[in-house]
Amino acid sequence: MTDPNTTLSHVDIADLAAHDKPYLDANELVINMGPQHPATHGVLRVILRLDGEKVLGLECVIGYLHRGVEKIGEHRTYTMFNPYVDRMDYVAAVSNGLGYCETVEKLLNVEAPPRAQHVRVILTELNRIASHQLWLGTHALDIGAITPLFYTFRDREEILKIYEKYCGARLTTHAFRIGGLQYETYTGFEKEVKNFLSFFRPKIDEYEELLTTNRIWVERTKNVGAISAEDCIALGVTGPVLRASGIKWDLRKAQPYANYKNFDFEIPVGTNGDTYDRYLVRMAEMRQSVRIIEQAVDALPEGPIMAKVPKVMKPPAGEVYHSIEAPKGELGYFIVSDGSTQPYRVRVRPPSFVNLQALDLMCRGELVADVIAVIGTLDIVLGEVDR
C-alpha cells in the first residue's frame, strides 16, 4: 500500500481508464453564470456547457424573482390587483397595466371612452420608447459601449418626468384604471409631450450614428445569435425578435386594441434574425412610436375619461384571453371570472418567459461573450419571466 500522505496528489491514469465514464471530461466544461451577474438583466442563472470558449448548449434556471403574482391575483379584487401587474415587467409598467385593464374591460363588457383610449395610446407608446431606451443602454453596455447608457437614460428621464407629472410615479405607474383613466391629463401635457418628441427625434439619429455603422458594434452583433423565422414561430417567440427574423407581425396591426387602428405607422422588419437586425428593428420601432405619438397628440379628443363601471366589480362568470403588443412581445392576460369580486384565475402570459426559451437555440455555436450579447438582445426582464 502506498502511503496516502505522500502520494495524495498523484492520480493513477490507468485507474481512471478502468472506469466507465472519464473522471474528467476534458472536452466539455460546465460553467455557471450565476444568478448574480451584472449582465444578465436580473437574477437569471445560465448553466453553460462549453468547449473551450464555444457554447455547446445552455440551460436557463429561472425563478429567482418568483413572487407568486398569479396566486395573489386570486386573493385580490380586480381593482386591487391593478398595481401588481406593473411590478412584473417593471421596465415598461404602463403596458402591463394596459393589458390587464383591457382584459378586465372585456370581461365586464365595457369600453373605455375615446379620450381615455387616446391618452392610453400616448402613454403606452412613450412607454415603448422608454423600454427600448433602457434596452439600448444596457445592451450596448453589455457589449462594451458605455456611452449610450448615459444618453438613453437621460432620454428615459424625460419620459419618466412626464409620467410623474401625470400619475405621480415614475416606474410602477398604475396609470390606467379598469374602464378608463383616473387622472385627467395635466395642463401642458400635450405641450410637454410635443417638446419631448422634438427633443428625442434627433437623438435616435444620434444613437444610430454612434452604433449602426460602428465597426466594433457590427463585428459584435452581426450574425450573432441568429434565429430563423420557423424556429421563432415554433418556440412562440414574439416581439422585435420575431420581426427581426422576417415576419411582419405586430398585434397593434393584426388584432388592434385601444385606438391603434386610427394611427398610421409601419412595422419594421429585419432579414437575418441576428442581433444586429434586432437592434435595427428596435431603433426603427422607436421612430414609429414617435410617429404614433405625434399623430395622437395632435388629435386628442375631448370627453370623459372613465366609462361607467360599477364600484364593486363583479364580472359575469366567463373567461377571456386578451393580449397586447408590449415592447418585449405578446403580453397576454387570461382571466377567469366566477362571478365574484375576485378573479378565479389570473394567468399572465409573459413575452420574456417564452422568448427566453430561444436562448439555448440562439447561443449554440457562439462564443461565451456572445451569450451576453444574445441575452441583451432578447430584451428580457426577470420580473416578467418569473412573475
Partner: protein, 158 residues
C-alpha cells in the same frame, strides 16, 4: 372550421363563444390528436400559452387550456380539456417546441405531468419545493407559518 372539426370528432368537441372569443372544450381522449390537426391542417402554428385552472369541487378537477394562434388566418382559438387529479396529459412539445417551458410551469404550479416532455421538472420554484401553489387547496398563509416556525422558531404573526 369548427364545423369541419365537429364533423370529424362529433361529440368529443363542444365549440363555445364568450365575449366574442371562440374556444372549444374537447374530450381528454382527443388530445393530442386535435392539437396535431389544428397545427398541421388548420395552420395554428403558434402556441401562445398553456395554462390550467383548478376546480376542487368538480369531479374532474383541472381544466387545461391551450391558447393557439394562426398567423395565416389571424385567428386565435382556445382548446380546453378537463382532467382528473393525478391524471397525465401527453406533451405538446413535439407539436410546438415553445410548449416546453409552458408545460413545465403548469406542472410546477398545478402538479399536472405531461408525458413525453423532455425535461419534466419544476421551473419557477426551487427543485425541492413541496406542493403545487396554484391549486386551490394550497394556502399561502399555511406555507408562511410553516416556514416561520421551522426557521425562526416562533409563531407567525399573520
Amino acid at each position: 372550421m369548427i364545423a369541419k372539426l365537429k364533423g370529424s370528432y362529433g361529440s368529443g368537441i363542444e365549440p363555445l363563444t364568450y365575449a366574442g372569443q371562440n374556444y372549444m372544450v374537447v374530450d381528454r381522449s382527443l388530445i393530442p390528436e386535435i392539437l396535431q390537426v389544428l397545427r398541421n391542417e388548420e395552420q395554428f402554428d403558434y402556441c401562445v400559452d398553456i395554462t390550467a385552472m383548478h376546480y376542487p369541487q368538480r369531479e374532474k378537477q383541472f381544466d387545461v387550456v391551450w391558447v393557439l394562434y394562426s398567423f395565416a388566418r389571424n385567428e386565435r382559438i382556445r382548446v380546453k380539456t378537463q382532467i382528473a387529479d393525478g391524471a397525465n396529459l401527453p406533451s405538446s412539445v413535439p407539436i410546438w417546441a415553445g410548449a416546453n417551458w409552458l408545460e413545465r410551469e403548469v406542472y410546477d404550479m398545478f402538479g399536472i405531468k405531461f408525458e413525453g416532455h423532455p425535461d419534466m421538472k419544476r421551473i419557477l420554484l426551487p427543485d425541492g419545493w413541496k406542493g403545487h401553489p396554484l391549486r386551490k387547496d394550497y394556502g399561502i398563509l399555511q406555507q408562511d407559518n410553516e416556514w416561520v416556525q421551522i426557521n425562526l422558531g416562533i409563531e407567525s404573526g399573520q
